[in-house]
């Protein structure tokens, strides 16, 4: 469904991604693992057109999208849930969701009824949002804001969702709830998911496959099970018997 070949992305002079190639098959949950600054968020931003790559190929459902503007990419069916939630705090939950539907419905039509149907789906995923629909987003808890951010991205009815650190700063119980919903999005809503997550173990437990990024380069591709067993991954991201495997 998504094929990336040799993308190179820069911030000014600094190269953040070096020849990155990866792919996603429809229906998969794929996770990106890497230390801070490895380029995970940059990769998501390159995909969504926020920071377009300087070179390389991104092909989504047989269409090259690396030169498209961000809003066109959303219309193609890729929605990003940015790091740190970034909901529109002065707006109500309802309005936040409606904004998420804006591009999709502008292009496809369907009107209010369609928007209502999709927001009902979001409320079914996150019943708490229904209770809070009239509340301002800024008054929600961290977990609820994250749910809203995911819900807002879902409003564009994406085929592919890019999730950036959805469990960041959340209590473990709340994080678990978020992971449950992500699995649900994949299983029931048939959304393909590319997930960047600090909690590598939780991400790998849920994912089909994963990639490991290091200093802007991909150093490993494998099934989630293989990556969980890989010592490099354990050492750097799972913190398992760190001390023993650090010293050579």
């Amino acid at each position: 469904m998504l094929t990336i070949k040799n993308i190179n992305t820069y911030y000014g002079q600094a190269q953040a991604l070096k020849n990155v190639s990866l792919h996603l098959t429809e229906g998969e949950i794929v996770t990106l693992i890497g230390a801070n600054g490895a380029g995970k968020t940059t990769l998501l931003n390159s995909l969504s057109g926020v920071v377009p790559p300087r070179s390389g190929q991104i092909i989504f459902n047989n269409v090259p999208i690396n030169n498209l503007a961000a809003h066109r990419i959303v219309q193609m069916g890729i929605s990003q849930v940015p790091e740190g939630r970034q909901v529109f705090k002065p707006l109500s939950v309802e309005d936040n969701l409606e904004l998420g539907a804006y591009l999709h419905h502008k292009m496809l039509g369907g009107g209010k009824a369609e928007v209502k149907k999709t927001s009902e789906m979001v409320y079914a995923l996150f019943p708490i949002l229904r209770e809070r629909r009239k509340q301002l987003a800024g008054t929600l808890s961290g977990g609820e804001q994250q749910m809203l951010a995911i819900g807002r991205a879902f409003m564009a009815r994406p085929k592919l969702m890019l999730l950036d650190e959805p469990s960041m700063g959340l209590a473990p119980m709340v994080a678990q709830e978020i992971f449950r919903v992500i699995e649900n999005l994949s299983r029931e809503k048939k959304t393909t998911i590319l997930l960047v997550e600090q909690n590598a173990r939780a991400a790998l437990k849920m994912a089909n496959r994963g990639y490991v990024l290091e200093n802007g380069r991909l150093i490993l591709e494998g099934t989630a099970v293989e990556l969980l067993e890989n010592k490099d991954v354990q050492r750097a991201y799972l913190g398992k018997d760190k001390k023993e495997i650090w010293e050579r």
Binding site: K18, L22, R217, L218, E221, K231
Partner: protein, 433 residues
């Protein structure tokens, strides 16, 4: 038709090439970071990992030879710290030191599943009883097949080599359905079965998985008709992983190379240049999934050609022709790799100097024999008879310990070995496979 890993064995070319590119870039990044040998070689050629943007860019990278592995003896080519290695195997090696291969926990798992692919392709299922008549120990053959069979869920009899009568007894009583051995040993077994008056129909054999040495279609026919089983070929080498690089499916029209794990190239053995698609040449392999002991463009020394036409079995993987010869002088004696130079070294060190000799390889019955013929020199001539005998014994022992095989050693009169233009042919291979 049974396929063990439908996803990876039946991918479209496009999907496969994307996966190969991702994995190739990842492994190049890893070896560049973790293996001094590769980093140095890349630097010398002015290559950085970012130069690899497509599969065809692989040709920019240096070939890896046995000598490279020798120079980095024992652990220099490992891409992970030794403590992450859960298994060490080693080859009989070339002239000096053997080659040491390491496997992480993941490597063993990956290996098992690759072997499971060719076993499944041959017809093996979890209902089978698999008798493994390969040598256990430092060799990779027995362990690879062992893990593959267990992964499928078959019942494994880790028989090992030799003791032919016991092999046959077990085959009869334990109701072995799958025989795993070298093809020549299968013929030796058939001979013994006939001698003992056992009716092959009374055995339960269904499949024979043969590898470790080259064999012909003629041998396949012979084995199949005498042991009443379906015989398939599989290919692998310890430096790359062991068995599990490629294997025949039941179409028996070439061996499918597991391209999601290995990139095959056919090169000119003289120049190292990549040859056009379909040509015959030396096989070079790059591993894509190995963690502990990755290989970049390793020269196998095996001569073959590749066929990208789709196979009837449904697998989309490329097929390589059965290996029939080598690009170097390596001999395969009863499944064991032997270099004439190993034997020469052993001889010269015991004889304390150069001694005219010739190696004669023959197939007696089904089994290979290797004979070392030494011309009597003045030095040897002057020895007492008993000392001469112990001299021969010593050579035999030394060769046995270096190569792991038994050699007949014989003294002949001075100047009695045939010379062509004053030179002795070092090796005479009389086998007709």
């Amino acid at each position: 038709m049974n396929i063990w890993d439908q996803t990876h064995e039946c991918m479209s070319r496009d999907e496969l090439e994307q996966l190969q590119l991702e994995r190739l870039q990842a492994i190049i990044n890893r070896v560049h970071k973790n293996v001094t040998h590769y980093r140095k070689k890349f630097n010398e050629m002015g290559i950085i990992p970012e130069d690899i943007c497509s599969l065809s860019d692989l040709t920019k990278l240096p070939l890896t030879t046995k000598d490279d592995l020798n120079l980095n003896y024992p652990y220099g080519m490992f891409a992970v710290p030794l403590r992450e290695v859960v298994r060490i195997h080693s080859s009989s090696g070339t002239t000096s030191k053997p080659i040491v291969m390491g496997y992480t926990k993941n490597d063993i798992k990956i290996w098992s599943n690759l072997v499971a692919r060719f076993m499944t392709a041959a017809g093996v299922t979890h209902d089978d009883v698999v008798q493994i008549a390969f040598r256990y120990g430092l060799f990779t053959g027995a362990f690879g097949v062992h893990y593959g069979a267990e992964t499928i869920g078959a019942s494994v009899i880790p028989m090992g080599t030799g003791n032919t009568e016991k092999q046959i007894m077990i085959m009869q009583d334990y109701k072995t359905t799958v025989l795993v051995s070298t093809p020549s040993y299968a013929i030796a077994l058939a001979d013994r079965i006939k001698q003992l008056g056992v009716d092959p129909k009374s055995l339960s054999l269904k499949f024979g998985l043969f590898g470790g040495e080259p064999w012909s279609e003629k041998m396949r026919e012979e084995i199949e008709s005498r042991l009443l089983l379906s015989a398939t070929d599989n290919y692998g080498l310890s430096e790359v992983i062991g068995p599990g690089v490629a294997g025949e499916c039941s179409c028996k029209k070439g061996l499918h190379i597991y391209e999601d794990a290995f990139i095959p190239e056919i090169i000119d053995p003289e120049t190292g240049a990549v040859l056009p698609s379909g040509s015959e040449g030396e096989l070079a392999l790059t591993t894509l999934t190995k963690e502990a002991f990755p290989m970049i463009r390793y020269r196998t020394g095996d001569i073959t050609s590749l066929d990208y036409a789709q196979c009837e079995c449904g697998r989309t993987l490329v097929r390589m022709k059965k290996i029939v010869r080598r690009s170097d002088d390596m001999l395969i004696i009863r499944g064991v790799n032997v270099f004439p130079s190993q034997i020469e070294d052993a001889l010269f060190s015991v004889a304390q100097g150069e001694t005219p000799y010739q190696l004669v390889v023959e197939r007696k019955g089904a089994m290979d024999s290797l004979e070392l013929i030494i011309e009597v020199t003045d030095k040897i001539f002057s020895l007492e008879l008993q000392k001469q005998r112990s001299f021969l014994e010593m050579i035999k022992k030394r060769i046995g310990s270096v190569t792991g095989i038994n050699v007949e050693v014989k003294l002949v009169e001075s100047k009695s070995i045939l010379r062509q233009k004053g030179k002795i042919a070092r090796v005479v291979d009389k086998r007709q496979i």
